[in-house]
């Protein structure tokens, strides 16, 4: 995932990736750092990771997109090339009020990538187009 995050967040994901590779868990100090950097959505994102909610969809053309099953069971499509999530929290907290860099769904995608626990799924090119255009039935 191409990153548009502050350096501190990127370093944090690298540390989590390293620690998780070695010990298969995230140490307490990194969990505290995660909470410090991302606030309340850190815990919610970790919940989503535990529930295996993140799937990476790939199409033959090489396009990729992430799908995250939200707390209410709704499916959110998050993009690889830019930070965007169709959830209300992203529209309000991130885009309108600029209070945080991302929502719990995008954070869950980053965490799953760092921990290498993303589910993988293949879709056809036309299916990918539907997903990317946001016209997919939710």
């Amino acid at each position: 995932m191409r990153s548009f995050l502050p350096a501190v967040a990127e370093q944090l994901f690298r540390d989590i990736q390293k620690a998780y590779q070695e010990t298969s868990q995230i140490p307490d100090d990194l969990l505290i750092a995660l909470k410090f950097v991302f606030g309340p959505c850190a815990l919610q994102a970790l919940d989503l990771v535990d529930q295996h909610s993140v799937t990476c969809l790939s199409s033959p053309s090489g396009r990729k997109a992430f799908q995250v099953i939200g707390g209410s069971g709704r499916l959110y499509t998050c993009f690889v090339s830019c930070h965007y999530c169709p959830c209300p929290a992203f529209a309000y907290t991130v885009l309108r009020r600029n209070e945080g860099p991302l929502c719990k769904h995008i954070l869950a995608v980053y965490l799953c990538q760092a921990m290498a626990v993303t589910q993988q799924e293949s879709v056809s090119d036309p299916q990918m187009s539907t997903l990317l255009s946001g016209t997919a039935p939710l």
């Binding site: 548009f4 053309s61 396009r63 255009s133």
Partner: protein
């Protein structure tokens, strides 16, 4: 960054400037822009008067197709009636024009669908487009504030946008207060602002219209690619002056 726009400025530079500075050969400017080099991939939001920004977009499309030989997709809601006067003087070859595909989506939904489908095989023959241009983004957005940026490296993206706030205070610097523009800025690495020059000097230029052109990076670029900028031997000029003759031909000058 903003490589294609910069090479447009250089190519259509006034002759006096070209003589002063031999390094400004348009071909050397373009040779640095090899398609596929992901370090130059960038997205630019072009702000300002719609008629001028459309001419600039068309010049960019033709430049990219003829000089770089890359495929271009040009999205606009209104039919292209004629090419900018500057292009009519040095007519691009029909072969290079064939590399530009004009597409006329009517609604935001149409635009999203067409952009989302660009990766499908019928749209990628022989190669996928390397430049996506969206004319008058505000026409698609309407009152909706949700916008999904179609950029994906190494494809470049240029979109033009005219802010409501801007048109109310022509030439003012109040554009930052437009909430839609605030959101758009997140998704574009560069901003190119066209601002009508209303100084005495401009008035003295007579029939010619003078515009100031500013290239500026948005916050995201500052954090994301510090290395890339250090590697660059000489920073591209950030300010240009555009003069438009009564016949519509455009000429750029470094400010």
């Amino acid at each position: 960054m903003a490589d294609i726009l910069t090479s447009v400025f250089r190519t259509f530079m006034s002759q006096t400037d070209v003589n002063k500075d031999v390094t400004m050969d348009p071909h050397s400017a373009c040779s640095a822009l090899l398609p596929g080099d992901s370090s130059v991939s960038s997205s630019v939001l072009l702000l300002g008067d719609s008629s001028i920004s459309r001419s600039l977009l068309l010049l960019s499309a033709v430049m990219a197709a003829s000089e770089l030989g890359v495929r271009v997709v040009f999205f606009t809601q209104t039919q292209i009636q004629s090419l900018p006067v500057s292009l009519q003087k040095c007519v691009p070859s029909p072969e290079s024009l064939k590399k530009i595909k004009f597409s006329y989506p009517r609604t935001l939904g149409d635009l999203l669908q067409q952009v989302a489908g660009l990766h499908e095989s019928q749209n990628t023959s022989p190669t996928p487009p390397s430049l996506i241009i969206v004319d008058r983004l505000e026409g698609f957005l309407g009152r909706e504030t949700t916008q999904r940026s179609p950029s994906s490296a190494p494809c470049r993206l240029i979109a033009s946008f005219r802010s409501d706030v801007d048109s109310e205070h022509a030439g003012g610097e109040s554009s930052a207060t437009d909430p839609i523009l605030d959101v758009l800025d997140r998704y574009f690495q560069m901003r190119c602002t066209l601002d009508r020059d209303r100084s005495y000097e401009a008035a003295a230029a007579g029939l010619k219209e003078l515009w100031n052109v500013y290239l500026s990076a948005t916050g995201i670029t500052e954090d994301a690619c510090p290395k890339e900028r250090e590697d660059r031997p000489a920073a591209a000029p950030k300010e240009w002056q555009l003069s438009i003759s009564p016949d519509g031909s455009m000429e750029f000058k470094m400010a």
